[in-house]
Every structure is written in structure tokens, then in C-alpha cells.
Amino acid sequence: MTARLECEVLVVGGGVAGAVAALAARRAGTRVALARRAPGATALSSGALSSGTDPTELPGAFLGARAGVADSARRLAALRPRHPYAVAGKRLDRLEEALAFAAGELGSVLAPFNGRHRWLPTPYGSFQAAALCQRTMVAADLAEARGLLAVVALRGHLSWDAGMAAASIERSAPLGGPRAEVARLDFPMWEEAALWRPHELARFLERPGAAEDLGGMLRRALPPRASAAVFPPVLGLSPGADVAGRIAAAAGLPVAETLSDVPSVPGLRLQAALEARLRAAGVEVLPGDLREARGPGRPARCAEREVLAPSWVLASGRFVGGGIVRRGTLVEPLLGIPVAAAEAFGGWGAHLAGRPAASLTHRDWRTAQPLLSAGLASDALFRPVDAQGAVVHQRLFAAGALLGGYDQASDGSGLGVAVLTGYLSGQAAAAGGGLAAAPALGRPLGTLGPGGGKGGGA
């Protein structure tokens, strides 16, 4: 048994929200521990960090003329009062500062923050906005790229359809984006390579000579006038291998990869960068479930160690991360904090957490789904509140998807919320509460039940 770990801030959750919170608290000079069960939903993300676009923007608006990152977030906040951007109130003004902080901390993979959205192609014939993207994606920014993008088709790669990615780019052309043309590469295809998953292909391209060969092949297949080349999202798992740079050098033009679905090489790369940065910044990372958790100021256990911290940041995610689960009713499993749910029409609050799933969803899957916006309600400092609206604990903060009030899939603000709330909650936790030390208003955590409900999925 190793010694008890005492620190100022304990962060629960190792995705973008938790990592940014830990790094922000560390930057403030505190000792920080981060407990994480497994790589978070970040490893399954597209690889870029979107902060949400202006919902009032016309679909035909030129990409270069669209609202910037900060303005988009303000408009989202104005339209959606439960969104963490709206809950943040005046502190939403610090979104750009938070994004610049994240870009700096994760500079090994992320391109610098420039205040506006980058519009990036996907394998689905669509394009998406990102406030922060990886360096490997910049050359495919449809708001900046000009002329003709060569979309690379790899003959050996069955799950990649260059035509779909080209359609993504062509869709942007009427909005001031570039044109696209498919360039077919006779990528070496043999028995086992034919069945490679994206991460296996990414590992292969890291080998000495592989990226150079591919770049040479690309140079020969390039359409005339191509200004950049767009690849499937397989350009290496490790940023150090610089697969994109090596292909670009061999091909003689900038190269980029699209955003990814699952399994996501850029997502894995981002997750690895988070973990590397946490270690380099001196955050104590504890791999495993947090057990016997009773809240800030009381010892908990993780990875065979006892941890004690006066301030906590919960960044345990929503359903994929496991920060919220539904077992017949919606539950926050770690501390039993009441979960606020939204009805299909209207209401919002912890009293709805036990409603049947069908009552919390809309039939049309394309619309925002209230059930998927369930999460903790909080005060303006992102301190979770109970069913009566009272702060659960003065030094307990939340960050990321654990906070409810928005459906990530429909407003696209998921990782922007993670960065903003992680940054603010990390700083507030490091400052010891953010408010003049006042007696705790909420009930002691030990009395909160696990939320009840029978059965549920495993």
C-alpha cells in the first residue's frame, strides 16, 4: 500500500474536459491528481474540437463570412438557456482564452486557435466546423483552401470512399470553398493489408519509407493545378512520426486528412496527446475507477491509493463516458447527484429523471433528443446543484458532457463546452471555490442515495 496522495485538486475523468481542467489547475500552481477509468469519449471523437456554430446562420452563407467562434457561442447561449454556454453567463467571454489555452497545451497535435471556425470535410459527404483542429487537418480547411483539392483514393482501403469525401468538399464550393477531384493511388494491397483497420494503416504509414512511398505515388497521380491533397484520417497515430509532413514533402504539396468516424485515428492521437501533456505537466494520473467517493475533502480510493483533495472537478462524461447512466432512471453513479432530464416537449429538471425513455425522446431522430441532453444542472460556477437547486458542495465543480442541457450531436458544441467548462472549473477548483469561503449550502454528500431504479443494462 502506497502513501495517501494529498493534493489541492482531484479531477475525475480523462477526456478533454478533465485534461483541460487538470492542466488549468496545474497552471494555477496547485497539485493535481486525475483519476480516469479508461480513455474517454475523446478517443472516439472526430479528432477536432468543435465549439458549435451559430444556429441562426443561413445554410447558404459563405464559409469565410460566417460568425466567429465567440459570436457563435454567444448566439447559441442566447437561444438555449440551459446550455452550459448560457449557464456560464459573463464567463462565456473567456471561451477564446480557454481555446487558446487548450491549443497551447496540446500544441503537439493541435493547430493554433485563430478565432474562427475551420470547416473540415468528413467521410460522409458533409463538412463540419471546428474551433480547434489537428495540424494534420489544416490544409483541408474549406474556408481557406483555394483551387482544387485532390482527394486520395487508396485502392487497398475498402472502408474509405474518396467520392464521398470529394462530395463533402464540392458541397462547400458554392459557399466559397474549393473544388475536388479524386486521385486514385495504387496503394500496395496484399492479403492482410486488405483487411487493415484504420489504426493499423496509420501504424503502417509511420514506418520508415512508407509515407515517402505514398507521397511519391501521390505526386505521380496528382491532377494538374491541385493545391493540396486530402487523405482518409489515417495519417499516423503518433504526432512525432509526422506522416502528413513526410507525405507532403514527397508529394510536393500540403496534405490533410478528413475528420473521422469510429474507430478514429485522430481521436486516438488526441487522447495520446492529452495523456502525454498531463504527465509532462506533472499531473498525477491514476488509472482506474474512483471508489468510496464521498466528495471533496473526504478520502477516496483509486488505483490502490487513497486520494484526498479539498476541491474536485467531475469530468466523467455523459453516457459513453459513464458519468451518467440510465438504469430504468437516470443516475449519476459516482456521488448520486440528481440528474436533470428534459422532456420531449418543455420541462427540464431532476424530477423527470425517471420518465420512460420514449417520453424523453422525439420520434424524428434528426431533431435534438432531450434524453441525450440529460446531465447535471449547475450554478453559474458549474457547481452541480441538487433537485432543489442548492449547490451540492462548495468545492465540487463539473465540466464537460457531465453537465446537461445540450445535445452534443445536434448542436456540435460538445468539445467546446469541454474546453470552456474544463478551463473554468479547473481554475475555480484551484482557487479553492471561486467564492469567499462560505458554509456549504447543500446537503452532505454521504446522504445522497445512488438514485434508485431497478435493473438496467450492463
Partner: protein, 544 residues
């Protein structure tokens, strides 16, 4: 383009009649407004069973179903699998009341009587299990049971059964059109003379002429009849099933629901299925969804014998409408499972036949009876039915999965799956991998769908929309809700069927819409996390 007969509806009855009529030399047009089996057939329990439930009331139904399930095993041996069932005694031997003893005795006689039918369908005779034997083979059962009796049933992929009948009809010269709606039954001078149709995908339409029209549109029949000015009495009953993410029990288990109805939990292919409800349905057959209370009713019923079911992951809730015969004043369960062929001549529509009732297991015999009648209406001499002798496509022989796997270099489980779904044609499917090794890619780790199967179905099984692949090869029906397979399968289908990027997006969107309707009543636990993940990709990233 004059035909002998136009069949409306591509469920098991429509496809079965189209096949039989074509095999007997008639010229046939089959119109299905969506895809084969989308209604009651494909959404049935997936059993070729003898209907022990009907033995006391409709013994003829049981006998017919048992005989015909024997035939179905002969013509589609690859597609039929054995499901042994347990019917547990819910009380202990010691201290049993007289009533309980009488119940045991009655159950034994009941199942023993059913044994008389087993030779017809090739099932094993029932066995009496002591409590010790029962718990040894099915430890998940709640304690305190007094043993069980076993009975043998057969499972089938009902969507494929419908598609294979339609494909066989086509091989015998029928024109088979899915995604083509019969918009109007045309009548002239007291007779039907044809059907107006419209292709839902191309918008193309036309008038097909025939002296006989067979309306096998299931729950849609009353509405179609009303448009044609005839009455098709029916009491549509909604049946809901749940799918669990794995084989949750070793055997089928017959349970009793809260209201005393018989229901079941059974292993079926890779999953388990819980079924079923039976409630009158007066709504729109095109707008059918399982509700939270139906899900709860089914789970509660199984929980009474298998308490662990509350920890199971329910992946989908799906439903169909039984086309039960009309009777006033009876409970749904007590309605006859007999079938009835309506001849609308007396209503001024000579040549128009409508079908109601019946069972999946008896579909072939029902089709034979209808085809006999069609020949009579056409004034043709009788021709012998051969549908019980000639195999359905792929049913000619049963390939050895190990041998297939070895020859084509794929995993044995993947080969076994193809052998089950495609029978003798599995070899042809795998031959695609020899030409293009990329087609060995496993699109779905849940279902084990190889890319080759998607390509094969798109080429040879009348796939017109991406959602047709849900029924041909269970695409996107697993726990991950299409996260792994949907985009790649859409790209493969696009390559085969000439879809552009916009069409691929429309097809994906349609597939996911259908998927959401089967999921939203059961979003809980891990399945809710899966839905969040899939939405993040399809809606968030793909903007579908």
C-alpha cells in the same frame, strides 16, 4: 403486359403464392410497396412452430403447421434451426396442492398430445425434467421450480424466407417488384381487370392487367379493400418483440405474463428474443412503434421466471400486426389462428381474392390452397403443386462451414453464418472474396457480416434501398446501431447500385431513422451509450 394473376404484398403469403403460381406455369406480377416481409411476416417471432398454443382451440391449425414446418425444413434446410423449449412447473413437488398436481398432469398431457404432431415436423419428443435436471441445463431460472417438460420448435429468419420465396418466384418467370405500390385495383363490369402501380423510388407508374388479383397485403388489406369497394374483415393485433444483445438462455423458456398470457424468452441466431404482446390495433399500419409499457410488460413476464433479465441489454423493440380473423366479443388471445380466403365476387369484384389470418409455419400450404383457387378462377386445369419438393434458392444442399472457411480463407464463424443464411449459395458469396480479398472485411463485429455478403445481396437479392440490407443480412440491427457498418455498407451498395453521394446520404438517413424507431423505447444502460455514440457520428459528424 397482361398477366394471369397480380399478387399484392410481398409478405410470406404474397411471396409464397407468387412462387407457387409461377411454378405452376402462370404469369405473375408481385407488387410489394416496401420490401419483402416488412409487415407481420418479418416481424413475427421467427418461428416455424407447430402452435402448441392453438392445440386446444384450433387443432387443425396445429396439425397443418406441424406438417408444413416439416416441408419448410425440406425446402430450406439451411435457414431452419432447432430451438428446444422448456415449460417449467412453477411450484414444488413437496406440499403441492391438488390444483397444482392437476396442472402438472394437464401440462404433461398437453405436451404429450403435442408429441403426436412432432413426427410431422421432425421434432424430438418431449421429456420430463426433474428440478435438478432443469437447473443443470438452465441455471438462470428462479429457484423453487418443480421441474419442466421440454418441447421442440424450429426457428427461422422470416425476412429471408419471404425474400427467398420472391426470388424463387422470379426464377420461375414471375415479375417481382419491391418498392412498388399497388395504388388502385381496377374494376370493370363487376370484375377486376388489373392494378395501377407506382414505383416509390423512381416515380414510374403504370397499369398492369390480369383477370385475377390476389390481395395479400396483410394489415394493409382492409384499406386496400376499401379503395376497391370491398370489405376485408380483420382484427389486426399488434405483436411486440424485444431483442437482447446475446443468447441470454440456453433454451427457449415459456413464461406467463402478468395477465396469465403465455409468452417466451428464446435464443434465436446470435440473440435472444422475448415475445410477444397481442393487442388490438386500430391505428395506421404504416405508423407502428413499440411503447414503453409494452416493453415493461414483456420484461416483467420473463422476470417472473428469469430474474436476471433485468440486467440484460435490450437492443431493440420491434413489432408487427397479425392479420387475425375478425370475431366480435373475444379476447385477442382467444381469436382463431385459422386462415380465410375472401372471394369478393359477390361485392362486384369477381377475380379479387383477399387473405386473412394464417401462420408463418403454414404459409406454404396456405399458398397452395390459394393457388388452387386461382387456377380454378382462371379456368385452368389443375396442376400439381411442387413447392414442398423444390428447394428454395440455396436450399439444395448444406455446405460444411469448416470446409468453406478453409477454401476461402475466412473465419469459421463467418463461413457458418453464410452457410446458415445462404445455404448452397454461400460458396458463391465467398467466391467474391477470392476475386477481391478486401471483401473479407468484417463490417460488423456484432453480426459478423462480411463485405462480400453485402455485395452479393446488392447484386442478387433485389436490394433497392440500404434498409433492404437490414432484412437480407441484418445490417445495422446489432447493439451498435450501425456505428461500425452503416457507412461502409452504404458505400458498397452505392458502388453496386450506382448511387451518388446524395443518394448514399439519403439512404443512410432512412436506415438510421428506421433504426431509431426500434431503439427509442429501450434506451437504457449500455444501449443508451451506444445510441449516444452512434448519434455523435451519424448526426454530429455526418450531418445526416
Amino acid at each position: 403486359m397482361d398477366r394471369d394473376v397480380i399478387v399484392i404484398g410481398g409478405g410470406v403469403n404474397g411471396a409464397g403464392v407468387a412462387r407457387d403460381a409461377a411454378m405452376r406455369g402462370l404469369s405473375v406480377l408481385l407488387l410489394e410497396k416496401q420490401d419483402f416481409g416488412v409487415g407481420a411476416s418479418g416481424n413475427s417471432s421467427g418461428m416455424i412452430h407447430g402452435g402448441i398454443r392453438y392445440m386446444t382451440s384450433d387443432r387443425r391449425v396445429t396439425a397443418l403447421a406441424c406438417r408444413d414446418s416439416g416441408y419448410i425444413r425440406r425446402i430450406a434446410p439451411h435457414l431452419v434451426f432447432r430451438i428446444p423449449f422448456l415449460m417449467p412447473f412453477v411450484s414444488r413437488r413437496d406440499g403441492a396442492t391438488l390444483l397444482e398436481r392437476a396442472t402438472w398432469y394437464a401440462t404433461e398431457v398437453y405436451v404429450g398430445t403435442y408429441d403426436l404432431y412432432q413426427p410431422l415436423k421432425g421434432g424430438k419428443p418431449s421429456t420430463r425434467l426433474t428440478p435438478e435436471e432443469l437447473y443443470a441445463i438452465e441455471p438462470a431460472l428462479r429457484p423453487g421450480l418443480g421441474g419442466a417438460v421440454t418441447l421442440d420448435e424450429w426457428g427461422i429468419d422470416a425476412f429471408r424466407l419471404c425474400a427467398l420465396n420472391a426470388l424463387s418466384a422470379e426464377r420461375h418467370g414471375a415479375e417481382v417488384r419491391n418498392w412498388t405500390e399497388a395504388t388502385e385495383v381496377v374494376r370493370e363490369g363487376g370484375r377486376v381487370t388489373g392494378v395501377r402501380w407506382r414505383d416509390a423510388l423512381t416515380g414510374e407508374g403504370g397499369l398492369a392487367r390480369a383477370p385475377v388479383v390476389f390481395n395479400a397485403s396483410g394489415a394493409w388489406s382492409p384499406a386496400l379493400g376499401r379503395r376497391a369497394g370491398v370489405s376485408v374483415p380483420m382484427r389486426p393485433g399488434k405483436g411486440v418483440h424485444l431483442t437482447l444483445d446475446r443468447r441470454f438462455s440456453n433454451y427457449g423458456i415459456i413464461c406467463t405474463a402478468v395477465d396469465g398470457r403465455q409468452m417466451f424468452l428464446m435464443p434465436h441466431e446470435n440473440d435472444s428474443i422475448i415475445g410477444t404482446t397481442d393487442d388490438d390495433y386500430y391505428g395506421d399500419p404504416d405508423d407502428l412503434e413499440a411503447t414503453s409499457d409494452e416493453v415493461e410488460y414483456l420484461l416483467e413476464g420473463v422476470e417472473s421466471l428469469v430474474p436476471g433479465v433485468r440486467r440484460a441489454r435490450v437492443t431493440r423493440a420491434w413489432c408487427g400486426l397479425r392479420t387475425t380473423l375478425y370475431q366480435y366479443g373475444k379476447n385477442e388471445d382467444d381469436l382463431s389462428r385459422e386462415h380465410l380466403l375472401y372471394d369478393h365476387a359477390a361485392e362486384g369484384a369477381a377475380g379479387l381474392l383477399s387473405f386473412a389470418g394464417g401462420k408463418l409455419a403454414s404459409y406454404r400450404a396456405q399458398a397452395e390452397e390459394v393457388t388452387d383457387r386461382i387456377l380454378l378462377l382462371l379456368g385452368r386445369p389443375p396442376v400439381a403443386c411442387r413447392t414442398h419438393q423444390e428447394p428454395l434458392p440455396g436450399g439444395e444442399s448444406l455446405p460444411d462451414p469448416a470446409e468453406l472457411a478453409r477454401r476461402h480463407g475466412v473465419a469459421r464463424a463467418a463461413a457458418a453464418r453464410l452457410a446458415y443464411r445462404h445455404g448452397a449459395l454461400a460458396e458463391e458469396v465467398l467466391r467474391l472474396c477470392d476475386e477481391d480479398p478486401r471483401l473479407k472485411l468484417c463490417l460488423c463485429r456484432d453480426e459478423g457480416i462480411l463485405a462480400a455478403e453485402v455485395v452479393w445481396c446488392a447484386r442478387h437479392e433485389k436490394v433497392r434501398r440500404l434498409q433492404d440490407l437490414r432484412r437480407r443480412c441484418r445490417l445495422g440491427t446489432g447493439g451498435c446501431a450501425g456505428l461500425d457498418c452503416a457507412r461502409v455498407a452504404a458505400q458498397l451498395a452505392a458502388h453496386e447500385l450506382g448511387w451518388d453521394a446524395d443518394r448514399v446520404r439519403a439512404e443512410l438517413s432512412d436506415l438510421l431513422d428506421l433504426d431509431w424507431r426500434e431503439r427509442r423505447a429501450v434506451l437504457d444502460g449500455a444501449q443508451l451509450a451506444a445510441a449516444e455514440m452512434a448519434r455523435a457520428v451519424h448526426r454530429g459528424l455526418g450531418a445526416l
